[in-house]
């Protein structure tokens, strides 16, 4: 199964979506991210992998400033992330994020989960927000669940709601932090299908995931991290068939070996 067989990769424009230069981050004394340089162009789909604790989550959480970096520069869609809260607000309303544990709001219905941010952050009228929400719920194929509460849905359905919730803000960039690792195998597929569809529509995506099939199907680039550093970057085909660094060879033999 190769990416070419599945879908022709949408054209990548050349315009920069995310630009990270010389970025460092510490937790107290612990140097989690070291000199990260990364440029993501619009429409690009990047998969980030690496052993546990290598800083993958921290890296993508820096991109919408759920974590603060201490040195270097992060520019998201032309806006630099600094302590300026206006910039932070702007970036967050343009970057969607999907979490490992969904983090849906349990006290709100699926529809309310999807309309909350458009209404209060984008100040969209309720009617319009609901229309958008239904549109995206159709897209993730669960429009019939709109009036249920998250607790009444299966894990896969919840994760698709979480994706729809992010899409309702019409983000330019989507971040995924291990979106399928809390799911049972049969649910993984439905979430991955949704993500593949999203990729075909040309969304700029950064995914932390260990789903190698997904990486091969849609990613333009795989980034391998270890000990807070980017160790290897390559096209998925090259990376999986012909890893260059020792660390990535070891890592691949471990996850593919089972």
């Amino acid at each position: 199964m190769t990416d070419a067989a599945l879908a022709p990769p949408p054209p990548v424009s050349g315009e920069v979506a995310v630009q990270i230069t010389g970025m460092n981050k510490w937790y107290g004394q612990f140097h989690v991210l070291r000199d990260i340089d990364l440029t993501v162009t619009k429409g690009e789909r990047i998969v980030i992998c690496g052993p546990s604790g290598s800083g993958k989550s921290t890296l993508i959480r820096c991109i919408n400033r759920l974590e603060e970096h201490q040195s270097g520069q992060i520019v998201v869609d032309g806006t630099e992330l600094t302590s300026n809260l206006k910039n932070v607000d702007k970036v967050r309303s343009e970057v969607g994020m999907v979490f490992q544990h969904f983090n849906l709001f349990p006290h709100l219905t699926v529809l309310e989960n999807c309309t909350l941010a458009p209404i209060w952050v984008r100040k969209v009228p309720k009617r319009e927000a609901e229309e958008t929400a239904m549109h995206f719920l159709h897209k993730v194929r669960i429009p019939e669940q709109a009036h249920k509460y998250p607790g009444q849905l299966s894990g896969g359905q919840q994760q698709r709601v979480a994706i729809a919730r992010s899409l309702c803000m019409r983000p330019k960039i989507m971040l995924f932090d291990e979106p399928t690792s809390a799911l049972d195998p049969e649910m993984i597929k439905e979430v991955l299908d949704t993500m593949i569809e999203l990729a075909r529509d040309g969304m700029t995506m950064l995914c932390v995931t260990h789903e190698m099939g997904f990486a091969q199907a849609v990613a333009n680039r795989v980034i391998f991290m270890d000990q807070g550093q980017i160790v290897e970057q390559n096209t998925p085909r090259e990376f999986f068939n012909n890893p260059r660094s020792e660390r990535s060879k070891l890592f691949l033999s471990q996850i593919l070996g089972h």
């Binding site: 607000d89 983090n103 349990p106 209060w120 100040k123």
Partner: protein
Amino acid sequence: MSEIHAETVAFARDTMMPPAPPPRRETGAVRWMRENLFSGPLNIILTILAAWLLWLALRDLLPWAWRGIWQAGSASECRAIRDQLYGEGVPAACWAVVRARWRQLLFGFYPADGLWRPLLALGLFLVAVLPVLFSGAPRRLLWLSAAAPFVIVWLLWGGSLWGPVAAALGFVVGWAIWAAVARRGNAGLALLLGLGAALAWWFLLARPVAAGLASVAPLALVPVESRAFGGFTLSLVIGLAGICLSLPLGVLLALARRSELFFISKVAVAYIEVIRGVPLIVWLLVAQVVLNYFLPRGTNFDILLRVIIMVTLFSSAYIAEVIRGGLAALPSGQYEAADALGLGYWQATRLIVLPQALKISIPGIVNSFIGLFKDTTLVSIISLFDPMRISSTIRATTEWGGIYWELYVFVALVFFAFCFAMSRYSIWLERRLERSHR
């Protein structure tokens, strides 16, 4: 041999076995008693001990209560009837005192023809908290909940209807202006303007508007002074007002205590610890004798109002701790998701955090209320007429002098009924929350 062996290895059942009842043993009362009361030496000792304790407790109490005399005009009459019925000096309760004075115990000195007012107020309150306490209730009742406090104040203290209405309008004005400005974007400015408008309304316009409305449509109830409040009415007024008013303050304190801002959280911690470190009696003393020192010269308001203010400040510290527990129970993913969607602090707090945290906190809030309701008996010490003090006043009258136990038993029973019901509710709610969190 080998054939049998072969058979046991390959086996397929062709007929299913029907379920059979377990082997019979003793049934009925004897078995129950053996299992639950006499299943071993320790258990037998415990049973005997319990029976003995029960006997000790009830030996005198039950006959005394059972013989109780319900029809009498005074304690001496009671005694005369008792001597006649059971013989000289036989212990018998004189329930006649409860029959004669129940109204005072329940309503204090509230005007006799206005007793429907506190009752209606209580009913209104119960309907108003329905949507909060039971999630199944219709949402539209929330409007009633918003209006209820003003109507309840009017019902209890009487006077012109337009005073409370004008006060309520202040909130409406403030909210309207806040909403109008917030829609344009600037949240801080909106808050400032809304607050300013509300204050302006209360201090400048409310009184003339109320007076004007009163002259057009003079709707008024006979005013009742705070001094007339007593008995369980007083306990409920103080307890309920205390809990309801302390909720907003408690929420703010809990948020402040969890805040990352050093100074803000330290101030909240200091407030909470100081309030909780000192007994309520001392705070009531403060309300009674010290509070006036800190108010502008000449202000002198109602002791009941002062007590309510003090009790509000007091219970807000306890409520804050309850709500802090609710906030801590919220998974951090909720905060992160709100952040990632671009919600601001107050938006996230209002839309995501508080609705969930408050729901988890309701059992704790109900428990705080039970505690506060019981603590309202302390106001007897600063000479308000709570049920305990009403009992002593009744005992001090010439008719009912020397009556001790009957009044205590009655007061205790009423307290028990209230508090027990509420604690059952809170346990029920806790169970339900636990289930819904799975």
